[in-house]
C-alpha cells in the first residue's frame, strides 16, 4: 500500500456502471440496497460529507490520526533539536539569569512547532492519499459531482449481476444511468 491510494484511480477500469443522484437520502438508500445485495461498490462521490455513508459502505477507519501523531512527534523533535542546538550548544544567552536548559520558555516553541507540523502534515498527506495533488489528473465521473450531484460507481466483471445493479439504481432515485468503457461514458 503506497501513500497515494491507487485503488481510487479510475484509469485502468474496464467497464463501470455509473448512477447519478440529486437527493442524498435516496443515494444513501441506494447504497444501502446495493451493499445488501452483495454488490461491490467502487466508490460513492459526493460534493460534501454525507453522514452515515461511511458506515453503510463499510469504509475502514482512516490512518490519518496516526499520521497526525507522527507529524506532531516530528514537529516536536525538530523543534527540540533546533532549540537545543541554537540555545544550549551553539550560542547560549543569559536572559535575566534564566536557565538555558529545559526551561519553561521552551514550551511555547515546542507547542507551536508541534501544532504547525501536525496541521500541515495532516493536510499534505490527506490530499496526497486522495490523489488531490499536483501531477495527478483529476478523474471525475460527472462534472457536477463537486457541486450538486452524487455518483455511485460499480465496476462490472464476473459475478456482477448488471441488470440487478441497474434495477436497484433506477428504483432508488438515480436520475441518470451510464456505462463507462475505457473512460468514455454513454447514457443507458
Amino acid at each position: 500500500m503506497g501513500i497515494i491510494d491507487n485503488n481510487l484511480s479510475l484509469r485502468d477500469r474496464n467497464r463501470m456502471l455509473v448512477g447519478i443522484w440529486e437527493d442524498e437520502d435516496k443515494l444513501v438508500e441506494a447504497t444501502s440496497e446495493l451493499v445488501h445485495a452483495g454488490v461491490k461498490i467502487q466508490d460513492v462521490y459526493t460534493p460534501y460529507p454525507v453522514h452515515g455513508l461511511d458506515r453503510i459502505m463499510g469504509v475502514r477507519r482512516s490512518w490519518l490520526s496516526i499520521v497526525a501523531f507522527m507529524c506532531g512527534a516530528t514537529g516536536f523533535s525538530l523543534a527540540f533539536w533546533m532549540i537545543y542546538y541554537m540555545y544550549v550548544q551553539d550560542w547560549p544567552l543569559d536572559v535575566g539569569n534564566k536557565p538555558v536548559r529545559f526551561s519553561p520558555s521552551w514550551v511555547p516553541v515546542l507547542f507551536e512547532a508541534t501544532v504547525l507540523c501536525t496541521a500541515f502534515g495532516m493536510g499534505f498527506f490527506f490530499f496526497l492519499r486522495n490523489r488531490m495533488i499536483w501531477g495527478i489528473k483529476p478523474e471525475l465521473l460527472d462534472d457536477r459531482q463537486t457541486d450538486d450531484r452524487m455518483v455511485i460507481a460499480v465496476e462490472t466483471g464476473e459475478g456482477v449481476d448488471e441488470k440487478k445493479v441497474l434495477q436497484i439504481m433506477k428504483d432508488h432515485g438515480a436520475v441518470e444511468l451510464r456505462e463507462r468503457i475505457g473512460g468514455v461514458q454513454t447514457t443507458i
Binding site: D25, E29, S32, D54, R61, S62, V107
Partner: protein, 475 residues
C-alpha cells in the same frame, strides 16, 4: 439524515433515583464525614503556625542566598526586603511581603483549616455548577444540535450552584479574617505613616474591602440564578408545547446570550475577590480565565460521568457512543486549554521575574513543589496521554477513571490556590481534605440526582432533538 432509512423513536423518560445510587451518595458523605472526623481528631491543634512560620522565614532567607542559582527562586533584593520586613517595618517597598509573613506567623484557630476546606470545595462545586449552566447557554448560542439529547444533565447540575456558593460564603463569613490577610489588615484601620501601613493593600481597598467582598458576589448570584431559572423553565415548558413550536428555543437563545455575556465578565470578579485576594499583594490579569478553565473542564467531566451513569442504568436511550465520544473530546481538549491558561499565567511571571508578581509562585514552587508538579500530572499529562486515542474517548471505563482523576486534580488545583496563601508552608492534602471533598461530593451527587427526577430526562420538543438522536461523528 444519514440513517434516513431507519427512524429513531424519541420518547420521554422519567428518572427515578435507584436505591443503590442513593446509598452510594449517602455513603460517600458518611465516609467523608468519618475521614474528616479522623482528620480533625489527629490534627495538631495547638499553636503550630508560629513554628511553621519560623521554618518559612528561614527557608526564604535560605532562598535569598541561593537565588543566584537561576532556578525559580526569589530575587535577592526582594528576599532581603522580605527578611527585613519580618523584623522591622521599614519603607513601603519593604512592606511587599511583610504583612503576609506576619499573617502566616499569627496564631489562627485550628478551625481555620476546616473553613478553608469548605471554602475550597464550596467554591469548586459552585464554579462547576455554574459552568454547567454556561454549557447549556453555549449550546443555545452556538445553535448546537448534538447536545439536545443530554441537555437535562447540565441543567440539573446547574441547580447546585447556589448551594456551593452558600458553602463558600459561610466559610468566608465565619473565618474571613483568618483566611484573608487583607481582611485582617483592614480591621487594623491603619493610616499612612503608622507602623505596619501597607500602601499596596491601601491602594486596593476601594475595591478589595469587606463590603464589596460580601455583597457583590451575592448580587451576581441572584442575577445568575434568575437567568438560570428562566432557562430551565423555558426548557421544561417546551416539553409541554406543540411539536414544532420554536418560540421557547428562540427565547432561550436570547436568555443564553444575556447569561453568557454577564457570566463572562462577572465570573472573573468572583475569582478575584474570593481566590486571588488570598494573596492580596499579588495579582494576575488572567486569573479569572484560569478559574473559568478549571471549572469548565471539571463541569464537562461531571456532565460526562452523569451521562455515562444514566446510560448504564438504561436511561437516555437516544444517546449513543457518538455523544460520549464528543464529551470525551471536550474533556481532552479543555484539559489542554486549562494547561494553556495555566502556563500562560506562569510563564509571564516566570519570565518577568518581578518580585511582587512572583510571591504567588515562590511559595508554591519552593514549599509546595510536589503539589505544583502533581497539578500538571493530574490535569494535563493524564488526560492528554490517556484520552488521546479515539477508542479511549468512547470507552466508559477509561472515561470514568480519567474523570475521577480530573475531578480530584482540579480540587487539588483550587486547594493549591488557597492553602499556601492562608497557612504558609508545610500543609498537605490529608484525611480532612479528602473527607471534605467526599462529604460535599456526596451531597452534590444526591442533589443532582434529585434534580434529574424533577422533569423528563429528554427534551422531547427541542427543535434539534431529532438531529441529536442521529448524531454521528463518522467512522
Amino acid at each position: 439524515m444519514g440513517h434516513g432509512h431507519h427512524k429513531i423513536e424519541i420518547k420521554q423518560e422519567q428518572f427515578a433515583v435507584p436505591a443503590k445510587a442513593k446509598r452510594f451518595a449517602i455513603g460517600l458523605t458518611i465516609i467523608g464525614l468519618i475521614l474528616a472526623g479522623i482528620g480533625i481528631a489527629t490534627m495538631d491543634k495547638g499553636g503550630s503556625h508560629g513554628h511553621g512560620h519560623e521554618t518559612a522565614a528561614t527557608k526564604h532567607e535560605h532562598a535569598a542566598t541561593a537565588a543566584a542559582g537561576g532556578e525559580i527562586a526569589v530575587n535577592e533584593h526582594a528576599a532581603d526586603a522580605h527578611a527585613n520586613a519580618t523584623e522591622h517595618h521599614g519603607n513601603v517597598e519593604n512592606e511587599n511581603f511583610g504583612p503576609r509573613a506576619e499573617f502566616h506567623k499569627q496564631n489562627k484557630p485550628w478551625t481555620t483549616r476546616i473553613w478553608s476546606n469548605i471554602l475550597i470545595v464550596g467554591y469548586l462545586l459552585f464554579m462547576v455548577s455554574l459552568a454547567a449552566l454556561f454549557f447549556v447557554a453555549v449550546q443555545y448560542i452556538a445553535n448546537a444540535g448534538w447536545s439536545a439529547a443530554i441537555k437535562r444533565v447540565p441543567e440539573a447540575i446547574s441547580t447546585f450552584f447556589p448551594v456551593g456558593f452558600a458553602l463558600a460564603f459561610i466559610a468566608i463569613l465565619v473565618a474571613k479574617s483568618d483566611l484573608y490577610h487583607w481582611v485582617h489588615y483592614e480591621h487594623q484601620h491603619l493610616t499612612k505613616g503608622q507602623p505596619g501601613f501597607d500602601a499596596i493593600l491601601d491602594g486596593k481597598s476601594w475595591f478589595l474591602n469587606s463590603k464589596m467582598f460580601l455583597i457583590f458576589p451575592v448580587v451576581l448570584v441572584v442575577i445568575w440564578w434568575m437567568l438560570g431559572r428562566k432557562l430551565r423553565s423555558l426548557s421544561v415548558a417546551e416539553d409541554a408545547a406543540q411539536p414544532g413550536d420554536v418560540s421557547f428555543f428562540k427565547k432561550s437563545i436570547r436568555y443564553s446570550a444575556g447569561f453568557a455575556v454577564i457570566y463572562g465578565f462577572t465570573i472573573a470578579v468572583v475569582a478575584w475577590l474570593w481566590m486571588m485576594s488570598i494573596d492580596a499583594h499579588w495579582f494576575s490579569t488572567i486569573f479569572g480565565v484560569y478559574n473559568f478553565a478549571t471549572s469548565w473542564v471539571t463541569a464537562l467531566t461531571i456532565i460526562c460521568l452523569f451521562v455515562l451513569y444514566l446510560r448504564s442504568q438504561g436511561y437516555l436511550k437516544i444517546v449513543s457512543d457518538e455523544h460520549i465520544h464528543d464529551l470525551g473530546k471536550f474533556m481532552f481538549a479543555f484539559s489542554i486549554f486549562w494547561t494553556y491558561i495555566w502556563l500562560s499565567q506562569y510563564l509571564l511571571i516566570w519570565y518577568a521575574h518581578i518580585p511582587e508578581e512572583m510571591s504567588y509562585y515562590q511559595i508554591r514552587y519552593e514549599d509546595y513543589k510536589f503539589n505544583f508538579l502533581l497539578n500538571i500530572v493530574l490535569n494535563f499529562l493524564c488526560p492528554f496521554l490517556i484520552l488521546m486515542m479515539r477508542n479511549a474517548k468512547r470507552n466508559p471505563v477509561v472515561l470514568t477513571i480519567v474523570g475521577c482523576i480530573l475531578i480530584f486534580g482540579h480540587f487539588h488545583d483550587v486547594w493549591l490556590m488557597v492553602v499556601p496563601g492562608v497557612f504558609g508552608p508545610g500543609q498537605q492534602i490529608g484525611l480532612l481534605e479528602i473527607g471534605t471533598l467526599l462529604t460535599f461530593g456526596g451531597i452534590f451527587i444526591y442533589w443532582v440526582m434529585i434534580a434529574l427526577t424533577k422533569r423528563g430526562l429528554i427534551a422531547v420538543n427541542h427543535p434539534y432533538i431529532e438531529e441529536s438522536a442521529h448524531h454521528d461523528v463518522g467512522v
